[in-house]
Symmetry: C2
């Protein structure tokens, strides 16, 4: 029973279902059929809207990145001092939205996909570059080696992410934030 104006809702449902499915089955054995089923429609309809499985995966990544970007911009907006800006970045990285197990799993798979797929890699580089640029900008007035420190902070955040994704008994979010904050404090004080 076709209602009109379904496209946005269908796309939304498919993007969500793709992320959920990545988290549930892992990117290796994802199928369009399973995604479509989870989104409550036929596989044919999924193809109708996205054209290919590849496009669905990319749409899921774009969603993850744009959610993160929005969150980050919002957090940075209120930060006046460089130190507050740093804090905003860290807290966004470990914010609940980002640390939802589903999203963490999607990120992990995203990393792997970026290893082969040029479009995915491009997307990831944009995110990396923005994060680095934000960090360096905030660090410049505070540190003698903003680039090095930014590199370390980024890597530490990524590493803590992975552990979150892989452990059955994950670290508490506060522990991760505390570790990054310690790292920053020590880096600045030096």
């Amino acid at each position: 029973m076709p209602r009109i104006g379904m496209e946005p809702q269908r796309r939304e449902a498919l993007v969500r279902a793709t992320i959920a499915e990545i988290a549930a089955s892992g990117a290796r054995d994802i199928t369009v059929a399973r995604i479509a089923k989870r989104a409550g429609m036929s596989p044919a309809l999924a193809h109708h809207y996205f054209g290919s499985k590849e496009q669905m995966l990319l749409a899921a990544m774009r969603r993850i990145l744009s959610d993160f970007g929005r969150e980050a911009r919002r957090a940075m907006a209120g930060a006046e001092t460089p130190r507050a800006r740093l804090q905003a970045i860290v807290e966004t990285s470990f914010g609940p939205a980002n640390f939802d197990p589903e999203v963490v799993a999607a990120w992990l798979n995203f990393y792997v996909q970026a290893h082969r797929d040029p479009e995915a890699r491009r997307l990831l580089h944009i995110y990396h570059a923005r994060l680095r640029s934000n960090l360096v900008h905030a660090l410049r007035p505070l540190s003698t080696d903003p680039e090095g420190l930014a590199e370390g902070i980024g890597a530490l955040i990524d590493g803590l992410y992975m552990r979150q994704a892989l452990r059955r008994r994950a670290l508490a979010t506060e522990t991760s934030v505390a570790l990054v904050n310690d790292y920053i404090e020590r880096g600045l004080r030096q």
Copy 2:
């Protein structure tokens, strides 16, 4: 033209080929046929020796982990002081054997595989636990918070790994080692 005593060589070739293939195509679209071709034999022979593709992937993972373990044990053997033991761990993690792009890519994929496959997860946990235990042991006489510091060091190493795997212009190994060493120094001094 069957020669005798081929089994070990065939297995060896298949394990190597599996790792190479993971790095080349990504775990998503690996096929037994491609692995076998790279190892210079028929797909049927690969199945003959390993039984299933799953087993090939696990064998490759075990190889990576046992190579790392051997390397780590060797490096630790000569270390007398706790500080030297720390240094040995860091240098092993970023040793040339581990930082071969092929091996880094394989690690990345193993992380993802561990997210679903219980056996892979089990293997990864053993590695994590050993690394953490070694770090904590070396840190105990040096730090007031060995567990926290070990967590941070492990995460930082993992994060730097990922970046190595994903950037086209990767960090120099020395840069990574220096970042970890700075982190340790600051953590101890505190």
